[in-house]
């Protein structure tokens, strides 16, 4: 049984996370691809529960920070504090020293704090008072942001958005799913709290290594390159996918194939990950944005135009 099947059985089939299979799969893929995820959704759509449940099942350490405008970088990365008994400075590690960090409402933190977090995400290490500390693997940040409330927020600049491997948009459950959720809310909450790991941290690290050896045919690489290039040529797009977007798509497609139980990537994997990889990296021309064109629509059009590898 593949890693994802185990997770799906525990979380989706058992009804703990209702209608969140795609989101869970993207989070786990992102973890295996050594990336970070930006989770966008209105409050109360199980963003925290998803992150917590995945961390528990994979036997990983999980922490959460509520980002606010008065949060400073030291609150995240940690600091040295003077211990008057020993007469020495002792290191107090910040919440970033974990495996899965949930940065709730990242756009509420000041740009300075956002930058500190994003730098740590990129480098996978932090520097405190001149001392560098490597972050323990696996390390993944799941940042959330609310698409509706913009007052008092500091939207992430494009360059920093590019650091997120994927942007996962999550929404409300269906009518039936919602009713089921209300009926079983107590049961669901206690079940998530009581989740036991299904794999060890060592297994996760092994899986990350195995993902790197997933076969990618040259034609798949061409296909990815064509998709990214096509986003730049799209009439409604001002800024298309960067080379980093292409790399992200390749890595995520590998992880996606791994979760599907294959040791090779197929065009379907690329199509499956193209939207979450590209949607936050594309900037539209304002005149088209006003007309209702969205980044997701532009990506959809690109996928509908770029031919898949043949024969």
């Amino acid at each position: 049984m593949t890693l994802f099947k185990v997770i799906r059985d525990k979380l989706i089939s058992s009804g703990l996370l209702i209608e969140k299979e795609r989101e869970i799969k993207l989070i786990v893929s992102c973890l295996l691809a050594r990336g970070h995820a930006l989770l966008e959704g209105v409050p109360g759509v199980a963003k925290t529960s998803m992150a917590k449940a995945v961390a528990k099942l994979l036997d990983l350490d999980f922490r959460r920070i509520q980002m606010t405008p008065d949060l400073i970088p030291l609150d995240i990365i940690g600091f040295y504090i003077y211990d008057q008994y020993s007469g020495e400075f002792r290191l107090r590690r910040g919440p970033i020293f974990t495996n899965i960090l949930l940065a709730d409402e990242i756009n509420r933190a000041s740009p300075r704090t956002q930058s500190a977090l994003l730098e740590a995400m990129q480098e996978r290490q932090v520097t405190i008072e001149g001392s560098t500390f490597k972050l323990e693997e696996p390390f993944m940040v799941i940042a959330t942001q609310n698409p509706i409330e913009m007052e008092g927020t500091f939207p992430l600049p494009e360059a920093q958005l590019d650091r997120f491997l994927v942007k996962i948009e999550t929404g409300y459950p269906s009518k039936e799913g919602f009713r089921d959720l209300i009926k079983r809310v107590d049961e669901i909450e206690s079940a998530i709290e009581g989740l036991k790991p299904v794999v060890s941290r060592a297994d996760v690290l092994k899986a990350i290594e195995e993902v790197k050896s997933i076969r990618v045919d040259d034609s798949i690489i061409d296909y990815i390159a064509q998709i990214v290039e096509a986003t730049r040529e799209h009439i409604a797009v001002r800024l298309g996918g960067s080379p980093r977007a292409g790399i992200a798509m390749l890595r995520l497609a590998r992880a996606w194939a791994y979760l599907e139980g294959r040791n090779y990537v197929i065009p379907d994997d690329v199509k499956a990950v193209a939207l979450p990889v590209l949607v936050h990296r594309i900037i539209l021309r304002p005149e088209y944005e006003i007309e209702g064109v969205t980044a997701a629509k532009a990506v959809g059009e690109v996928l509908a135009r770029v031919p898949v590898p043949k024969p």
Partner: protein, 379 residues
């Protein structure tokens, strides 16, 4: 309103142009019915001559013999001039007889689906230099199913049969080429005799007391047709009883009036129907895609997959889009394939492993072959 008037004007013009049947008939009937020079007798001679050529020769031998080919073309022309054959039928028949190149014949095929299939087949032939027997057989089966269901006209059927015959001949599939040759002879004979019979019944109502009736009676023609080996129901052909000075009968007038009403309705609805028609056309175009590229040097499972895709496209009428993955295509055709979808799924899986997994093991090759045979025998 302008549009409506324009449509009505075009309709009236079209009807006046379309009436050479009546005009040519009246011109030819300026004689006493039953005399040796009568139009019926001339027409019957033409039909008999044509049927006798068709019954004694194979289609390819007629095409390769300039004299016989000309006789057939002339006969078709005469039948068209006299109104027995419609201009579209005559044009298609002449093209088939003259033996222009396959691309030129394709231009005359009207049915968009059939045309798309034949285009794909021709492009396959151009890139590969041949088309395998199983794909050809699948296309022939599809063509016959379309013809039997009335989805395509006789002209389209003839043109498609001739194109397929040529591809089969060029691909070395002698048996299929021969059977298509026979089918062409049979269909042309049926078309000509059928149209002739309809013509006589429509424009020369039976009087029961025409002396020349025995000369042009069904038995004589039936004998000729019988020689061609085609069992057609016997027809009693009556002689003509209308004169040039006679006003157009009610029988003729009613269809004209009906046609006028239909044209008027279509003219009124055309602007509203246009967007739907355009969308439908777009869908047909979108479905049309080149399904085969140069695959000769590729591993067998990959070749078998593309062969299967060609057959499935023909059988389901859904061509694989360039932007569609192999899995997406499978999901699109799955329902249409019914129980055969399992074989196509297995071929698709083997293709995926061989193409993207880089593994074309003997076991996979065997599996692909097995399922391919199953698909070919059932489609």
């Amino acid at each position: 309103m302008k549009e409506f008037l324009a449509v009505m004007l075009v309709a009236v013009l079209a009807l006046s142009l379309a009436s050479p049947t009546v005009t040519s008939l009246t011109n030819q009937l300026r004689h006493t019915p039953g005399f040796p020079e009568s139009a019926e007798l001339q027409l019957e001679d033409i039909v008999k001559d044509l049927v006798s050529i068709l019954s004694s020769e194979t289609w390819s031998s007629i095409q390769s013999n300039p004299e016989k080919r000309q006789r057939v073309v002339d006969a078709i022309q005469s039948l068209a001039d006299s109104g027995v054959l419609e201009s579209g039928e005559a044009e298609a028949l002449s093209q088939v007889v003259r033996g222009g190149d396959a691309e030129a014949l394709l231009e005359y095929v009207k049915n968009p689906e059939l045309r798309s299939i034949l285009e794909e087949l021709l492009s396959m032939y151009c890139s590969e230099g041949y088309v395998s027997w199983d794909i050809l057989q699948a296309v022939v089966n599809r063509l016959q199913a379309m013809y039997a269901s009335g989805a395509i006209s006789e002209e389209d059927y003839l043109l498609a049969s001739e194109i397929l015959r040529r591809i089969a001949e060029a691909s070395g599939d002698v048996d299929l080429a021969r059977s298509l040759d026979k089918e062409l002879v049979k269909t042309i004979t049926e078309l000509v005799t059928g149209e002739y019979r309809d013509f006589i019944e429509k424009f020369m109502p039976k009087t029961g007391s025409v002396p020349g009736a025995s000369l042009i009676g069904g038995s004589t023609l039936e004998q000729s047709i019988g020689q061609a080996g085609i069992g057609l129901p016997s027809a009693s052909l009556p002689s003509a009883s209308i004169s040039p000075s006679m006003p157009i009968s009610l029988e003729t007038l009613v269809p004209i009036l009906v046609a006028l009403v239909v044209v008027a309705i279509v003219g009124l609805l055309a602007p509203r129907l246009y967007p739907y028609a355009a969308k439908a056309l777009m869908r047909v175009r979108a479905r049309k895609a080149v399904i085969i590229t140069d695959i000769r040097d590729l591993p067998e499972p990959i070749r078998l997959y593309w062969g299967s895709v060609a057959m499935v496209a023909v059988a389901t009428g859904v061509a694989k889009q360039d932007t569609e993955t192999h899995r997406e295509y499978y999901y699109v055709v799955r329902e249409k394939l019914g129980p055969l979808s399992d074989a196509f799924r297995k071929i698709t899986t083997v293709y995926e492993v061989a193409r993207f997994g880089g593994k074309a093991t003997q076991e996979l090759v065997e599996k692909a072959r097995r399922e391919y045979r199953r698909l070919v025998s059932s489609l």
